[in-house]
Structures are given as C-alpha cells and as structure tokens.
C-alpha cells in the first residue's frame, strides 16, 4: 500500500517523458533530462519495492537531481511547459517523502521594465508553487521570491541568452 503513490508518480513521469519524446518541437536537452528523470524514478520505484523508505527517498532524490532544479519558461509566460512539469513532478515525489521546505526563485529575461519583470518572476514562481500545492505539497513548505531580471545566468542579449534567464530555480531551505 505504502508504495502505491510512488508507483502512480512513476507512471505519470513515464507518461510525460513519452509525451515529450513524441513532441518533435521540444528542446532535445530537456527531453533527455525528462527521460533520464523518468528512468531514474522508475529505477527508484523498483529498488523501493523491497527497500527501506530511506533508500526510496535516496532514489527519488537522485531522480529529482537528474531532472534538475531549474524550470524554464516561454517569453512573457508563466505557464509550466511540459518539460517543466516533468521536472517539478520529480521534486514533488521527493517532497512527499521528506519534510523539507523549498524556496522557488522566479526570474525573467532583460526585456521589459524591471518592476514589471519582478511581478512576472513572481507569477512564474507562484505557478510552480500552485502546481506543487495542487499535487499535495503544503503551501507552508514553499516560499516564492522573485528577482525579476536582476539575476541573469546569461548576460548577453538574444534569445539563446534570454531563454536561459526565463526560469524558476528550486532551492532547498
């Protein structure tokens, strides 16, 4: 009984990974990451069948690490992409087993005004938060903070840089 929620999650992950592979327009790197995450989650679930809950957690943490803690967004959008949903799911699976708190940091690219981008970054962080809460994580465990365009990871202009900056970073607290 105890393992059923995890199994359910694994199925969800596998499903989203399959969906991603089928979607030819998606970014290859993110597809790979989502597929790797799904595979790792599946491995985790297998090892969890006979293992202790700490082994389970370790395996899920590995899967979440493989999925990455940065979720990317389209321009002027705070809607979770299918890739982002896959990665957030891997973290939700971990958060269901541990009692840790997380912080979601929302960021934007440099286009548009700084204050408006602060608001847009918050929308992105809240969109990840809302998805986590809808999937059973208590909102008290999640803090969202927006940095707007103030903390870019890529300094240059142009879509290749901008795409890296439109993100939410999940950080354990």
């Amino acid at each position: 009984m105890k393992h059923l929620p995890i199994a359910g999650k694994v199925i969800a992950l596998l499903f989203s990974a399959a969906l991603l592979v089928a979607c030819s327009g998606s970014d290859t790197k993110e597809q790979d990451e989502a597929a790797a995450a799904a595979a790792a989650a599946a491995a985790a679930a297998r090892s969890a069948q006979g293992g202790s809950s700490s082994a389970e957690l370790a395996a899920l943490e590995e899967a979440a690490a493989a999925a990455g803690n940065v979720f990317y967004f389209e321009f002027d959008s705070s809607t979770l992409t299918p890739e982002a949903v896959g990665a957030v799911d891997a973290h939700i699976a971990v958060l269901k087993l541990n009692n840790e708190n997380v912080r979601l940091e929302g960021h934007t690219d440099e286009r548009g005004t700084r204050e408006y981008n602060i608001a847009l970054g918050e929308r992105r962080a809240n969109s990840v938060r809302d998805y986590m809460v809808a999937n059973g994580i208590s909102s008290f465990r999640i803090e969202s903070v927006s940095f707007g365009e103030e903390k870019p990871v890529a300094y240059g202009s142009g879509e290749s840089n901008w795409a890296q900056n439109r993100r939410v970073e999940l950080k354990p607290q």
Partner: protein, 431 residues
C-alpha cells in the same frame, strides 16, 4: 546595538564620500538643430597657489550637454577676458559667438565665483552675479552658474545643480554580482557610493525635498523597501512583507509612499503613511499592478497594469477611486514618470519587439518616440522638464543615456567600467 548590527550585516554602508570606481563619462551623440553659440572663457583665479578646479569647463560641459548650446573651443578664442573692461566684442563677433560668459574665482574662507554674461551682437551685459560656497562644493557652484546662464538665455530654469542616483553593478559569474547605489552630480561627476551589496538593488527614488532616497534591496535574500537619509547615511527598513516589496514612490508632499506589495496574493498598489507606517491598499486587481508614479498635484497616480491583457498605463484618482486607461498606442507601455508641470509622461514603449522611451503629451494625447536603441528603460525627467535620462544597453553593457524632450539632443553617460542602470534625477535641491 544588536538591531543595528543586523541592519549592517551583508551590506557596506558608506556615509563619507567614497569615490566610486564606476565614474561616468560623457559622450554627446547629437545636438539640437539650431544651437546657440556661447564662449565660456576660463575663469580667472584670484587666490593664492593653483586654482582648485577648472570651473568654466564645468559650465561649458553643462551647456553643451543640453544640446541647446555649442560652446566655442578655447583654442579659437582670441582673448581671455575676465572683466568687462577686457571684453572686445569684435573678437567674439569675428568667430560667430552669440554670447560670452566670463568669470573670476576667489577664495576668502568660502570659494566665490563672480560671472558676467554678454550679448555679443547687441554688445551689452545681460546678466551678472556670483555663487559662493565650500571649496568641496566648487563644482556645484559652477553648475549654479550654468543654471543662471541657461535660464537667462532659454527662459527655462536650469537643472544642472541637481544630482543623480543610479545602480551600478559589477558582473561576477554565478549570480554573485555586486550592486551599488551611487549618487553623482547631474553630469555624472563626483560619484559617491551610498550602499554596496552582493544582492540586487532596485528602484532608487528621491524624496521630494531631495534629502532622502528610497530603494529596494535584496540584501536579506528577499526584497524590502528602505529609506536612507543622504546627509547621515541613516537607514530605515520600511517594509518586509512576504512576496514583492517594490516600486517605492514618494508623494509630492513627502508624507506618503506609494509602493507595490504582493502580500495579499498578487502585486497591488498600497499607500504607506510614513509617520505612522499604516498601510492602505488602493489598487487591487488579479492582474499585475505596479510602477506607481504620482502626478505633481498629488491627487492621482499613474501605474502599469496588464488588466487589459498587456501592460498599459492607467490613472487612479485618489478622491474618487476611479481608474482610467491612459495609453492606447502600442502593446506595451510601462513605468510612467511625469514632468513637474504634469503635462508630459515618459514611459517604456514597445515597437516591433524593441523597447524605446516615449513621451505622451497629456494635453494633445500625442505620443512621441524619443529613442532609437532597443532595450531602453527606466526613464527619469529632469526637474525642469528639459531632458529625459534613461538606461539602455550599448556594446553589451548597461549605460545611462539622455535625450531632450523634443528628441533633438542626445548624450550617453557610460561608466568607465561595469554596468549602470535605473537613473533617478533629483528634484531641485535647496542650498
């Protein structure tokens, strides 16, 4: 004491005048169509030893930056008069000079600049006066002379004896940038670092008396609004709410601060009574509401909202609570700032994916695009309404630039190193 240490932790507060590395330089990129020619003769130094500073060049630079004047090169001057008796009008007519400014600098406890302005064509003295103050304020005296000359010749008060604050930054890969809140003269000279932190600084703004700055600092890892007194460096944290704490804007009477908080779910606009710290939510909508800017009469506020789908400028009337949409042209209009006469609104305006500074005339409803670069933001109007200072990108670096409200004159203020952004032009400063 413990509380004070807490406030100081993680930031460097600079109370004394520390010169910043990131001094701004000036590059005039475009002048007005029909500028006035003026000769600013080097002022005669009447004190002992060497002159403290070339104050005539400060005046010369101020007038040139306005775009409305073309100063005569010193190498073209046929004489260097410092008294009326030494002025030979033909020397200046022969090199097509319309106006002539001469001066004398002396030191008797205070530094004193005496100046005289002549109309070369009419062969008459049209202005004379003096400015006096501390030696350390020599450049400010020169800016005041420039203000007097500018007003005499254009009919509009000068705004050279004012200051700027801006954010300068040094890039450190891995999101470890250093941010500095810096104050300088209106020409970018004499930069003083007011605050330095490893976390972002945002939205510096002046109190209407020019004695305080408010800004947003992430120094604690979360945004909070602070007020800092310039004379003492003393700081006060005004907000520390969950979510966004941003976009502080002092009311014209200095008693109230408009700000953006998302503590109640999403970004809304609040007023804080600065004496009691009491908050009142005035603009609330499920859309983003941000970037409040007071109209000079204090009766209404402009703000940015995407309640119509895309960001546009709206106006909120404090008395009635009525909200009107102000901008209709274009799909992105944001971060309004209003001229002191309440007639002109500058904002960020998007055209074909590029962000420019535009000016909306509230009387004619005519929108004029003032800039041509593509990532222009954070416009701030000079207190005399003549120039708009803004931030843009040039050669992949954040720089400050300025444009006259008629779009005619332009200059850039890049830092010698690092990035600069979010300029805020001070109000007129009391002496």
């Amino acid at each position: 004491m413990k509380r004070l240490l807490g406030i100081l932790m993680g930031v460097v507060l600079v109370v004394s005048a520390l010169r910043a590395q990131a001094e701004l330089t000036i590059e005039i990129s475009q002048g007005s169509d029909n500028p006035t020619t003026i000769a600013v003769v080097p002022f005669a130094w009447q004190g002992a030893g060497a002159a403290p500073e070339d104050l005539a060049s400060v005046v010369d630079g101020d007038l040139a930056r306005s775009g409305q004047f073309v100063p005569v090169a010193r190498t073209d001057m046929l004489g260097r008069p410092s008294t009326e008796a030494e002025v030979f009008y033909r020397d200046w007519r022969s090199i097509n000079t319309e106006y002539l400014l001469i001066g004398r600098v002396s030191l008797a406890g205070q530094l004193r600049v005496d100046y005289e302005l002549f109309d070369v064509l009419r062969q008459t003295k049209i202005l004379s006066g003096y400015e006096a103050g501390a030696v350390s304020d020599a450049r400010m005296l020169a800016h005041r002379v420039a203000d007097a000359v500018y007003e005499k010749l254009t009919g509009v008060p000068g705004a050279f004896a004012t200051r700027l604050v801006y954010i300068s930054g040094t890039r450190v890969p891995g999101g470890k940038d250093t941010s500095r809140l810096t104050m300088s003269d209106s020409d970018g000279a004499r930069p003083i670092v007011l605050l330095e932190t490893k976390e972002p600084l945002l939205a510096p703004t002046w109190s209407p008396d020019g004695k305080n700055i408010a800004y947003v600092s992430f120094e604690s890892g979360r945004p909070a609004i602070y007020r800092q007194e310039l004379a003492t460096g003393r700081r006060q944290q005004l907000t520390n709410f969950q979510g966004i704490n941003s976009a502080p804007a002092w009311s014209p009477d200095g008693r109230t601060m408009a700000m953006v908080l998302s503590k109640d779910g999403n970004p809304d606009i609040y007023l804080m009574d600065l004496a009691t710290k009491q908050l009142k939510r005035i603009i609330s909508h499920y859309a983003i509401d941000t970037e409040p800017a007071w109209m000079p009469d204090g009766q209404s506020l402009l703000f940015t909202s995407d309640r119509g789908g895309k960001p546009q400028i709206y106006r909120y009337a404090l008395g009635s609570g009525k909200i009107d949409r102000v901008t209709y042209e274009g799909t992105y209009n944001a971060r309004a700032r209003v001229s002191q006469d309440g007639r002109s609104v500058v904002m960020v305006h998007q055209v074909d994916g590029r962000f420019h500074i535009a000016l909306l005339d509230l009387v004619t409803n005519r929108m004029q695009i003032l800039t041509s670069t593509e990532l222009d933001e954070s416009p701030s109007i000079a207190p005399n309404g003549s120039m708009v200072l803004y931030a843009t990108k040039y050669a992949e670096r954040g720089i400050l630039a300025a444009v006259s409200v008629d779009g005619g004159a332009k200059f850039r203020l890049p830092a010698r190193e690092g990035d600069v952004r979010e300029p805020a032009w001070s109000p007129y400063l009391s002496r």
